[in-house]
Amino acid sequence: MRAAANCGRGGNSLSGVILSAPAVFLLFLFLIVPILGTIYFSFFTYQVMRPDNILFNGFRNYQKLFRDRNFWAALRNSVYFTLLVVPFQCALALGLALLVHSRRRGVSIFRTMYFSPQLTSMVVIAILWVILYNSNASTGLINALLQHFHIGPIDFLNDPKTAMNSIIFMSAWQGAGYQMMIFLAGLNGIPAEQYEAASADGANRLEQFWYITLPGLKNTIKYVFMITLIQAMKLFTQPYIMTKGGPQNRTKTLVYFIYEQGFQKGNFGYACSVAAIFFLIVVTMSLLVKKLTRTN
């Protein structure tokens, strides 16, 4: 295995070290050191206001964490967001990809339309949607539209029942175009002969989708699912800009909680223990998805 991997690789040892040294140095300084830092400080009482008084406290931070209702609420919010946005956004992206997987004239216009929310940043989108989501039907575009159907007005971002769902809808709308592009590449990788053969065998479109498209996209689906999952667990920008974690802490996610504890309240050691748990959850989730999709 090792010999095979080295087959054909040459050059002297020194130039390899020289070429990789800058990258390794930077990775060590700004990735490895902070990772170790997160773990290290999670065992300390470390108030930002009192850097002279850093005390080792064993597992005290973690004990506090497991009894902290705000931590569990933040975890619940992050998991809720992830469980809803991942299937919704992935299915939406796949649907859009199927819609524009065509050679008809002008199809690139539709691709660009679906991709357009990606052409601006999440900060821009979040600010724009705060205004679109306005609860007043005379200033909020969405409520003005719903009024035509005699719905609402809905106080999207200030009602604890709808705040997170509103962020979920906006995030999927913004992100689906990106995953659509990945799905399109996957669809292009499925040989046309397979569809022709199935069509000759009398398979209808639904059967073709089920027996050719889905199996052909297996790896793409796995990949898209994974990146969407990790991205969803990192949710911060949208609630920070749109709701400041409210109403009633319903949109305060794990990363928001880390920010609040570490940077707003200055409980640095405690925030590091939350960050360590956050990292553990993300790794566990992605390993779990990898394992589950492998057995299928």
Binding site: S13, S20, T38, L119, S138, L145, F236
Partner: protein
Amino acid sequence: MKSKKNHKRLRDLGFYLGNSLIGLVFVSPLLWMVAASFKPELAIFSNINSIRTFIPEHFSLANYIEVFRRLNIPQILGNTFSYIAIVLLGDLLFGSMCGYALAKLDFRGRGPILTLVIALMSMPVEAILLPLYIEVSRFGLGNTLPGLALPFMMNCFSIYMFYSYFLDIPDELIEAARIDGCGEIRCYFRIVLPLAKTVLATVFILDFVARWNDFMWPFLITTGEDKRTVQLAIQTFFGTQPIHYGSIMAALTLASVPMLLIYIFMQKYYVEGIASTGIKG
């Protein structure tokens, strides 16, 4: 025969009609943003429940003038592009060097480095922001451009992109250069790097987009107004009195222009870049 032709026509119609309707859901918020940015403040919400809200009837540039008056646009753009330039320099130069060494050279530590790069590829940066913040501040780089950019100069994903690209380059090509007496490092710059144009373009765009959009790190590390990036500037502008929705929309529209240009001029590399991450992953 005729019914088959009709059937095709019907399906074409469905294609164009369906895509247009769904496409509208995706573009209409953005169209409204652009339209509002050209309206006088009082006209923005005046006909919100009619389709005419998407047309700036009394076209005005006052909102843009206000944005340029209230924000130091050259400074904000300068900060953002310097930040992105430093990150790109590290990622394109050092990342490709490292990717090449890992793919084509044998040296001590190659195995562990490769394992580390792959293991840390999907590491969520949010988990290390606190110690990173302390570290950068201890170096005396808090609220500075180097402090903003240095931590993102290198990322494992780019190294992996270069690594997997160089793996596919035939060894004979490099061997030939070696026999010609080309030193390993000169050989990298003269032979290998010119071959890597597509992957360089891909990493360039993926990095540019990621850094352009980044909010959390600039938000944490820059405390002063003079070091703000575009995303930070519009976020603070949104919360600063006087709140004029027209000028907010103008700021949002302006902040979308660079990405739009990237998409127009480098669409091929951008879209292929996104797609290639899926194939590699």
